[in-house]
């Protein structure tokens, strides 16, 4: 399973033609305590780079963008019930949603883990 990252600090992990999406551990550390998430409903069609979800910390609201295009097949209900999972397990149990990939080649434009680490260090 390949895991890729966007410049907007989302991660996407692909298993077959299903991609699981969340925000990076770096992103959650910058957001601070997360108190609310709004996730896309199953069936919604997402376009790469466009708004997909909203994450609200005590201080501010931030958009989460779709790292790849596709159709939402599941949102993480556990995260809606306990938004603090974004802080405790951003790249694990705190995933946001799963989508059916539309075009796997979109993944080629994203960063792998080492490239993302370098990107974070360089820009912050």
């Amino acid at each position: 399973m390949t895991k890729k990252y966007t410049k907007d600090h989302e991660w996407v992990q692909v298993d077959g033609d299903v991609a699981t999406v969340g925000v990076s551990d770096f992103a959650q550390s910058q957001l601070g305590d997360v108190v609310f998430v709004e996730l896309p409903e199953a069936g919604r069609v997402l376009e790469q780079g466009k708004e997909a979800a909203v994450v609200e910390s005590v201080k501010a609201a931030s958009d989460v963008y779709a790292p790849v295009s596709g159709t939402v097949i599941e949102a993480n209900q556990a995260l809606v019930d306990d938004p603090s999972m974004v802080n405790s397990a951003a790249e694990g149990e705190g995933w946001f949603f799963k989508i059916q990939l539309k075009d796997a080649s979109e993944l080629d434009g994203l960063m792998d883990e080492s490239a993302y680490k370098a990107f974070v260090e360089e820009s912050h």
């Binding site: 601070g32 305590d33 108190v35 609310f36 609200e56 910390s57 005590v58 201080k59 501010a60």
Partner: protein
């Protein structure tokens, strides 16, 4: 000019904030701690449960002297300053000729002078305003050599008494000149979190020693501006420049309690005609507490609509209340929709979010009344 290119001022506790691992942000021209490694949520809860130490040295501390500084100050604010007994303090407002609020401030009768604490972002303008309007009547001194801290929370009194025993019996909104580990401090039993606590004014050079002494107590954690904001919002307290400003009067802002009987009758403060008329005939809009349904916070500038989708106002402060365990907000609505319980619609990210006008504070205040 970018923030990075702007020379930010620092408080005497700056090095300590950095040492404690604070995340620093520009605020009112200062490089200030927004949060420490504990995080805003835990810092907020810690303050409500035990005690939190805040650096508020960026705020302006001003000394007003003269033959009758209380009479002089009453020409600029609607509060009862002449009636302030020695050692007592109160909250009041600088007003403009339209009755709009130029700043909110605390005034203490310190015997031979008045001691004012004003907002960081307004302090230069406040001092200029005082100097211009009170020329010949009072001397105005910005006390740049002082630091200011706030110790807030239900255990604040117990902690403070270990250093200043006489602090334990101070009444809410009173003042004490004391000694803290051998250095002079001015304590006021006040704050802006809705909790019991103190503000501690001291010489810049003594600030770090005092902060370290308080932080060494097991009940005390360093708390940043992030939690300060959520604490004051839950307490229903206004943030200048957001909930009140030059376009809001004390009546619009639901701050009638700052307008005592004598001043309402006598006037003699800026904007009196407008404020007097509003008190008699009512204002067209009012600041209210707002409780969104569900868990999604509604932030500042969120549009408020009535049941028919008409715009009736805007949120001026909003976020998640960690103690309330729910989103909380304040804003202005037209007067017909200001009664507690009135249903409202908030337009959050283009979507309607149901809400109600709520009584404030969202969390009971726990001031020490003696």
């Amino acid at each position: 000019m970018t923030e990075a290119a702007t020379a930010l001022k620092t408080t005497p506790l700056h090095a300590l904030h950095v040492e404690l691992g604070a995340r620093m942000v520009p605020f009112a021209g200062y490089d200030m701690p927004v949060q420490y490694p504990l995080g805003i949520l835990k810092e907020h809860q810690h303050t409500r449960e035990k005690a939190g130490l805040f650096d508020v040295s960026h705020m302006g501390q001003v000394r007003l002297t003269g033959a009758d500084p209380a009479a002089a100050l009453e020409t600029l604010v609607p509060g009862d300053i002449k009636g302030l007994a020695q050692g007592r303090m109160r909250y009041t407002l600088f007003l403009n000729e339209q009755g709009g609020i130029l700043d909110d401030l605390m005034v203490t009768n310190a015997g031979d002078h008045l001691f004012l604490v004003v907002n960081a972002a307004c302090k230069e303008q406040d001092v200029a305003h005082l100097r211009e309007k009170l020329a010949g009547k009072a001397e105005v001194e910005l006390l740049d050599d002082l630091a200011l801290m706030a110790l807030q929370g239900p255990m604040a009194a117990e902690v403070m008494a270990r250093f200043v025993p006489e602090a334990a019996t101070m009444k809410f909104m009173s003042y004490l000149s004391a000694s803290f580990k051998g250095v002079p401090v001015i304590l006021t039993r006040s704050g802006y979190t809705g909790e019991d606590g103190y503000e501690i004014s001291c010489d810049k050079a003594d600030a770090e020693m005092i902060a370290r002494a308080l932080l060494a107590e097991s009940e005390v954690e360093a708390i940043g501006l992030g939690a300060r904001d959520s604490l004051r919002l839950e307490a229903g307290l206004c943030l200048y420049g957001h909930d009140i400003d030059t376009a809001t009067t004390p009546v619009d802002g639901a701050l009638e309690w700052t307008l005592p009987k004598r001043r309402r009758a006598e006037g003699g403060f800026p904007g009196y005609d407008i404020i007097h008329r509003q008190l008699t005939e009512g204002a067209s809009r009012r600041r209210v507490g707002i409780q969104p349904e569900g868990r999604q916070p509604a932030r500042e500038h969120t549009e408020i609509q009535d049941a028919d989708g008409n715009r009736i106002g805007e949120i001026t402060s909003g976020g998640f209340g960690p103690t309330a365990g729910a989103p909380v907000a304040m804003g202005y609505v037209d007067i017909a929709h200001s009664a507690v319980g009135t249903p409202l619609t908030l337009v959050v990210r283009g979507k309607p979010l149901p809400a109600r006008v709520a009584a404030t504070p969202f969390v009971p205040q726990r001031y020490y009344r003696g």
